[in-house]
Symmetry: C2
Subunit: 428 residues, 2 copies
Amino acid sequence: MGIEIPAGYRPLDDDSLRRWLSGVAVLAERLGGPSADWTVEEVGDGNLNLVFLVRGATGGVCVKQSLPYVRVVGESWPMPLERTFFEACHLSETAAHVGRLAPALLHYDATLFVLVEELLEPHRVLRGALIAGVRYPDAARAVAEYVAKNGVLSSVLAQPFEKVFDRAAVFAANQALTRVTTELVFADPYREQARNRWSSPQLDDAAASIRHDARLKLAVARLGQAFLTRHDALLHGDLHTGSVMVSASDTRVIDPEFARYGPLGFDLGNFVANLLTAYFSQPGHETRAGERTDYGEWILAQIDLFWRHFVLRYQQLWREQTEGDAYPVTLFEEADGQRALQDERQRAVAALLDDTLGFAGAEIIRRILGFAHNREFEAIPDPDVRARLERRALQLARRLLLEKERFGSIEAVLAAARAVSEYEAEVA
Amino acid sequence: MGIEIPAGYRPLDDDSLRRWLSGVAVLAERLGGPSADWTVEEVGDGNLNLVFLVRGATGGVCVKQSLPYVRVVGESWPMPLERTFFEACHLSETAAHVGRLAPALLHYDATLFVLVEELLEPHRVLRGALIAGVRYPDAARAVAEYVAKNGVLSSVLAQPFEKVFDRAAVFAANQALTRVTTELVFADPYREQARNRWSSPQLDDAAASIRHDARLKLAVARLGQAFLTRHDALLHGDLHTGSVMVSASDTRVIDPEFARYGPLGFDLGNFVANLLTAYFSQPGHETRAGERTDYGEWILAQIDLFWRHFVLRYQQLWREQTEGDAYPVTLFEEADGQRALQDERQRAVAALLDDTLGFAGAEIIRRILGFAHNREFEAIPDPDVRARLERRALQLARRLLLEKERFGSIEAVLAAARAVSEYEAEVA
């Protein structure tokens, strides 16, 4: 089994990468100096692709190339190469909306399925910072700004539907990665599936219990249908803390290869979920008890900040639009029309919170019981400690899915996250 | 101002139609005999296209050709020709689902933008039958069957999302007619717009009141957004009683040129709305008082029948599916999973009723205050009588939009329709 490899495609290595970069004037010029002097570092620690960081005399670039299979599994799980094409489309589509909240796309090669973007230095991956206990106080707000901008500006709130439909039709072809999400997030953790894994035997009971929880499965399936049928905005599609690069003064969202039109709560929920798993994982990274207590609280504060900034900007950006076909401005010019629209924006934001909590619950569960896990838990050396912390996250996830209407605010979610940890600490 | 006419396109007339049909073997054969002996009748009484009925020695065909403008307005309102392409796509896509509930597509010509389908005889248009007071007792059930089948079978309830996305991407290009719906249904009746018209001066107050009703406009705008963003199923897109052909033993849904993926309640609401306007118009077609009272009740009974059959079949068809990515069957194989899914189907149907009532309200309003009116009202000779009956329909429409949660059942809607008529009869 495999996929058809287009003529001309070959995976790049150090040598062929240098030769290829030398042949693309704009890139060779950016790097500067003779290609033999460039440093090439392969850093693809993700699940799917080759990623090279290349540095030259005058600058650097990041080179990302699709492999025709899932890298973390190998050639037994084939995967079409087009994903870098959709990532390049997303980067070029959203550049006008999000500016320097994403890396600049420098080049795309349709034969090699290679995209080249600016090298982000001295950035690090947000997930790693959260494991190390390092604070980047601007990150959550920047990601909120990114989601709010893409959420409004790519949608019929801001644009004539014709533009939105044309763009959505392009991303509707990004099916291989949509298939991954459909299976890995919305189905696999809730059924027997060989590629599922979890902290075993510690969480065997939790995994079994979730596979037999009809109400929970229904809540997840309803979100799965929404993911496939609601085309509100151009999503990043994989907005976890590993898709965010941070420095002291700059935050960038990278890796939008799962891009498609979908419900905005999916992106919001993914980011919130990954901050929550970072929070729950903190005791596992302590070298002495209580060492990470404050840092855990800081993470919860970032979730609060993320949500508040998103809500503020989403409503502001929507209010500034005049070209969208949804809620056409010509219908709401009078004072009571303006008030009605303001109420509607608040209703929309409440509905987004509801979606966000549901999608966050599904994301947490799949990261603990499904195929692709989060490093903040994986890096905890003691399996009993890890499983205990994962169990806390699962408890909250279940509540997010089954009782999301009861929360009604992000503070209530943070209080519930604290309560799960404290309750278990007491009974332990 | 105009649109680009592709090379080779020309509007057909009697003579060129005969020549063209003679050159398409399958059509000439179906008609039989020499082309000079065929009868050709141009019957396009709709708003947009040329429609010819052609009969020969051994059979007949119906020929539909796009014009590069809106026929009812003229060349001052240009309109791309592609609409027959999307109609042909819909007919060929849905043939497998709905079988003989739609006409068979016999031929499509991409240069002339001509589609040829089977000639429906001795059918008449349902709207005309409703004006004439003639009963076709199978029609409502057949249309319900049509909507239920397309609703489930074209969706991710029944199909892998890849197939649905590929098909939706094709119909996402049907933008000229989606623009018509977006403007004429969801915006124009609620703002000053030269092409709006209504029974004036009788309804001047009602038209002005609706233009200044912020709550009502918000309810309509919310539906407009749903129309553009929710891609649940392949819609007919224009399912009024003029798109249904009936005979004593057969019902067919024609004219799916507005086809696109959208919320199923849009089709359901359109059909319900047009039965409701037929109901409200009945006193205007009486030659003696009370003559149409029973017939009006019969129309309400058809709405009841339509909704009940739809609900039954939608749930049945969903239950029979095993290939859909939404609510994957592998998650719900146990008894409590089956029960949970059954509850979910009822929840889905309740949400569809909600959508249906809202879209029905918007359709009624636009048919009375917007550009395109319904003949059941237009054909009433006394303008005061017509306006009085239109006002009744507007009253119900407003309640459908603003109080749709309160209805909760189709019977409650029918009771409200009766009450609007009776209350006004009392105070008159």
